[in-house]
């Protein structure tokens, strides 16, 4: 038991760097192989190296939930599952883990806390809001990574059971609305905070440019993104500023 826990802890540490060798050929595959390797060390001689090689094949999903695939594949190797069954398991997990992680973290937990933090800064909380963001976010982050690895290791090829965990379903359902509310509330507060040093004419200009930019991003999102638009409008403002004393 102690050996398994030590191997899980090693795998967990390596999972923090699972995207370290991100590439367009195997995506997270190499990182997944590196993270899975400590869990495969006690396999018999003839099984260890083929299992390590399989672990490094193509894989892509949300990084925080990759542990689920790592644990499940390692458990399947220990349970003597056929190599093609393990390959199919990994392939089958890519989509659901990516989709769940994106909804739960990138479109939920992260923007929810980021919105709260921006609102808190605008209300004068200062750096304490940023410190709280880091701590609270990472409690969720590390807990999710650890749960995913443990669940994968526990369920093996039956890992789909873990994906239907009621806490995950509830969290996904709650975080979307919470994120919408938090960011919605943060936007006007942030606008007031950032426009604080502006004169009244500059505030009117800010409202007009922001409204036009928003419309441009909504209607021509296929051509424009925030960076391109910001660079373009800044370049125009810079030229006007240089020639208009």
């Amino acid at each position: 038991m102690a050996a398994v826990n030590a191997a899980l802890a090693r795998a967990m540490l390596r999972l923090f760097a699972v995207q370290g060798s991100y590439n367009y050929e195997r995506m997270l595959g190499v990182g997944v192989g590196v993270a899975e390797e400590p869990l495969l060390r006690d396999l018999a001689d003839g099984k260890y190296q083929p299992a390590v090689a399989r672990g490094a094949h193509f894989f892509n999903s949300h990084p925080y939930l990759t542990g689920l695939a790592v644990g499940a594949a390692a458990r399947a190797e220990h349970d003597g599952a056929a190599p093609d069954q393990i390959e199919r398991l990994r392939e089958a997990l890519c989509g659901p883990l990516g989709s769940l992680g994106d909804r739960l973290v990138w479109a939920g937990w992260l923007p929810f806390l980021s919105g709260l933090t921006m609102a808190a800064i605008a209300l004068g909380a200062g750096w304490i809001a940023v410190g709280a963001f880091l701590i609270v976010y990472n409690i969720g982050h590390v807990a999710l990574r650890w749960w995913a690895l443990k669940a994968g290791w526990t369920y093996g090829t039956r890992v789909s059971v873990a994906l239907h965990h009621p806490v995950l379903q509830k969290a996904t359902a709650l975080l979307g609305p919470a994120m919408g509310f938090a960011v919605g509330a943060a936007l006007p507060l942030t606008a007031a905070y950032l426009s604080g040093p502006f004169d009244s004419w500059a505030r009117v200009a800010l409202a007009i440019v922001a409204a036009l930019s928003f419309l441009a991003l909504r209607w021509r999102g296929d051509l424009l993104n925030g960076l391109r638009l910001a660079l373009g409008i800044s370049a125009v403002a810079l030229i006007i500023g240089l020639i208009w004393p």
């Binding site: 367009y24 390797e37 490094a56 979307g176 007031a192 500059a202 800010l206 925030g226 910001a230």
Partner: protein, 228 residues
Amino acid sequence: MNLPLEILIALLVWGTLVGVDLVSLPQMMIARPLVAGTIAGAILGDIPTGLKLGVVFELLQYDILPVGAVRYPEYGPATVAAVATAHASSGVLGLGLGALVGLVTGLLGGVTINVLRRVNSRIVHAAALTLESGEPKALVRLHVGALLRDALRAALVTSVGLVLAWLARPLLGVVLSERGAVLLAVAVVATALAAGAAGTLRLVGRGPTLAWFAAGLGAGIVATIWLR
């Protein structure tokens, strides 16, 4: 921007850590502009500027949903460079110039991420036979090599950002009129707010979350008016 060497080194190290955190290790969100900017401000002894630029780039970050192999600008080291720029110029001029330097650095950072992934792809492709042998040391070596390349990339992006920060004030700050400085600041703040709103609406979609977004927006407007 004339900063002591130890401050420049601290900013370079911080920008590198922030750049590595974005994708490679450990994704604890120090790459988030709010965090990157605040710590950069603390290094410079100017947390309010760090917070302000952090909020501007955080709004721009909402434009990005880092799913799959999507390409995106890198706003972490960009925010560090932006804060360094803004610290050298006070008030609205600092906000505008800082954001401009940050936007260019963010663009460069995004390009280098794509280049790095292509380089990694070639290396992984060339090592296919070794990987198929299941030799764990070779696997770890390949992975650690890629991590080091990302650290080098992040350091390079931060360095270029700090050079731009150093050039911004003598090249633009001294020739820009007061009105010009305000216009520049208005441009970046307005587009950041627009990107934040448009990006959030993409996340929210048309379902019931939209009603929550509208309710939040209403609450934010009421709070803003009440606090004036």
